[in-house]
């Protein structure tokens, strides 16, 4: 397993937002977390990336425990993420957003930056080119110089993904990447995610758009009130009576 989550527990006040969740993600798969609002999906992302401390439980990535790390150290360990409520660097250009995502690829430190050494200039050029290539793949190259906040919503979502990919992470956590996209954009996104997976990228996907989930996910974990109630392939999940009762039944059911 690339990522192993064991008995994760997080209380907010007296309420268990995540209550003993365990799962594993294999290398090169798209693993989806689904469940109604408040099921604890985003909380699990925040716990894995250590934006919040778990009350109990462990997260192991590539054989290494993430306990005690700061969020930036989790990123350095190889896990990056996108945010459900977009957290782009709005005042910076589209290209700068991706280049910031590639921060971990650079070596030039604070004091070295003051001197603008040839080594830093070369490093900067390389990161710029790589970021531009990533934008080209995502069809955002034409907007490279625009402020990120000026992009249409759907492209802002794509840019978040580009930024999360820029450092070449081993695992990417995608928090509702299809939210707010129209069906054409969602289809294109699904195609892109599958292509990434086929190139060996591992991803965890939190998503409400069932069409996208069923299309791209290799395995799905269903959460309800912080508890895992089912795990399986899309076909298994769609026919699980427990899942239909808890989730799909009260939402728009997938045919």
């Amino acid at each position: 397993m690339l990522l192993e989550v064991e008995g994760l527990v997080k209380y907010f006040g007296g309420v268990a937002a995540v209550d003993g969740v365990s799962f594993g993600v294999r290398k090169g798969e798209i693993y989806a977390l689904i469940g109604p609002n408040g099921a604890g999906k985003t909380t699990i992302f925040n716990l894995i990336t250590r934006m919040i401390e778990p009350d109990r439980g462990t997260v192991t990535f590539a054989g290494r425990s993430l306990a005690g790390l700061k969020p930036h150290q989790v990123a350095a360990a190889g896990i990056t993420r996108t945010f459900q409520n977009l957290q782009l660097f709005g005042g910076m250009s589209v290209l700068e957003n991706v280049m910031t995502g590639a921060y971990l690829k650079g070596r030039t430190g604070f004091w070295e930056s003051l001197a603008r050494l040839p080594r830093s200039v070369a490093e900067e050029k390389k990161i710029r080119e790589e970021s531009m290539r990533l934008l080209t793949v995502l069809g955002l190259a034409g907007a490279a110089g625009m402020p990120a906040s000026a992009l249409p919503f759907g492209q802002q979502r794509l840019l978040e993904i580009a930024r999360a990919l820029a450092s070449g992470p081993g695992l990417v956590l995608l928090d509702e990447p299809a939210a707010g996209l129209n069906s054409v954009e969602a289809k294109a996104l699904a195609g892109f995610l599958k292509k990434l997976r086929d190139q060996g990228k591992s991803m965890i996907l939190v998503e409400h758009d069932m069409e996208t989930v069923m299309e791209v996910a290799d395995r799905i974990l269903v959460l309800n009130f912080g508890v895992a109630i089912a795990e399986g392939t899309p076909a298994e999940i769609q026919s699980d009576p427990e899942v239909i009762k808890a989730y799909l039944g009260e939402d728009d059911r997938v045919a």
């Binding site: 990336t49 934006m51 700061k70 969020p71 930036h72 990123a75 350095a76 990056t80 993420r81 945010f83 957290q87 782009l88 660097f89 709005g90 005042g91 910076m92 700068e96 280049m99 910031t100 995502g101 921060y103 971990l104 650079g106 030039t108 430190g109 604070f110 004091w111 930056s113 003051l114 001197a115 603008r116 830093s120 490093e123 900067e124 990161i127 930024r163 999360a164 450092s167």
Partner: protein, 327 residues
């Protein structure tokens, strides 16, 4: 593109020509002080504009630089350049010690810590006995010497300060255009996303704080060499507030803002010192502070982004008009 080179080059040429154009020692003196303050405000501007932290004790770092030069050159007979290096290093170390615990905490802890630190240091300058010379300070700081050059007159010192400001500008421009500069901007935009991108936000803020203290120390060292004595009064809380005022008036997160803000505040101060007694004959120095306060309030209400941003917007507006009329 041409503008990017022409405007700074023209500004530099103008500043370089000032001693040739004017015989006024008074004007030169004000410009030297403006240059020295600009160095402090440039560092403070990075701390406030990018790291999103405020320091209410930068006069203390400025003072540490000044006292380091005064003590080392008089009591210990250090050569001037070595004393100036010490004026950079000492405030940097002190800032690292203060910043490490406080910057891990959120929001205004650094402001509180630097406020207390500034007051403590000021007390130390006043009560330091033989070390600091007490309220009357230390005199007899030798002129700055570098190689065969002696900076013993205002004209020479003006060029020394101009060179220092230029170096600081270049270093800061490099910083802002670098990987680190992007990270600083990212912290300003979204701290969560910056962390998620692998940026050590606490470490970055600490470095920005230390850098700002180093610049304040450099300015303090130059100040001591310029006036050739130090006493506690220029390093009080009032000066710290004035530095913040200069940074805000000039515009945070810009390269030219610190120079502009410092220039405006210094020249306005000189103007008020001349003008206020004409209107109110028996007015004391506190009237200047009242006027500063009023100007700051007006600026914050109408132009919270500061003067340099305002100029930028006017310029961009005129460029756009020109383009549309051409098409």
């Amino acid at each position: 593109m041409m503008r990017r080179i022409v405007v700074p080059a023209a500004a530099l040429a103008l500043f370089a020509a000032v001693p040739l154009l004017t015989g006024s020692g008074y004007l030169l003196g004000i410009l030297i002080v403006t240059g020295i303050y600009t160095i402090v405000v440039t560092g403070l501007g990075i701390l406030m504009g990018y790291a999103g932290q405020i320091s209410l004790g930068h006069a203390a770092f400025f003072g540490l630089g000044g006292y380091a030069v005064a003590i080392l050159t008089t009591s210990f007979r250090w050569p001037a350049p070595a004393a100036l290096v010490a004026a950079l290093v000492l405030p940097g170390i002190v800032a690292a010690v203060i910043g490490r615990p406080t910057l891990k905490l959120k929001e205004l802890f650094l402001a509180m810590a630097t406020l207390a630190f500034g007051i403590l240091v000021h007390i130390f300058f006043n009560e330091g006995g033989k070390i600091t010379g007490g309220p009357s300070g230390l005199s007899g700081v030798p002129y700055f010497k570098l190689g065969g050059l002696v900076f013993d007159r205002d004209t020479e010192f003006y060029y020394l300060v101009l060179a220092a400001v230029l170096l600081v500008f270049l270093a800061v421009k490099n910083l802002i255009d670098s990987r680190t500069g992007r990270a600083l901007k990212a912290v300003r935009e979204s701290e969560h996303a910056a962390e998620a991108s692998g940026i050590d936000t606490a470490g970055l803020k600490l470095r920005a704080f230390v850098f700002s203290a180093v610049l304040a120390g450099l300015a303090g060292g130059l100040y001591a060499f310029y006036v050739t004595f130090v006493n506690p009064s220029p390093f009080s809380f009032h000066t710290s507030v004035q530095f913040v005022l200069m940074a805000v008036i000039g515009g945070l997160g810009t390269l030219w803002g610190p120079l502009l803000g410092t220039g405006v505040v210094v020249f306005l101060g000189e103007f008020l010192r001349w003008a206020v007694p004409l209107v109110i004959p028996d007015a004391g120095g506190e009237y200047q502070i009242i006027f500063f306060g009023m100007i700051l309030v007006v600026l914050m209400v109408f132009r919270p982004e500061g003067l340099s941003r305002m100029i930028e917007m006017i310029r961009k507006g005129s460029v756009r008009e020109g383009e549309s009329s051409a098409s």
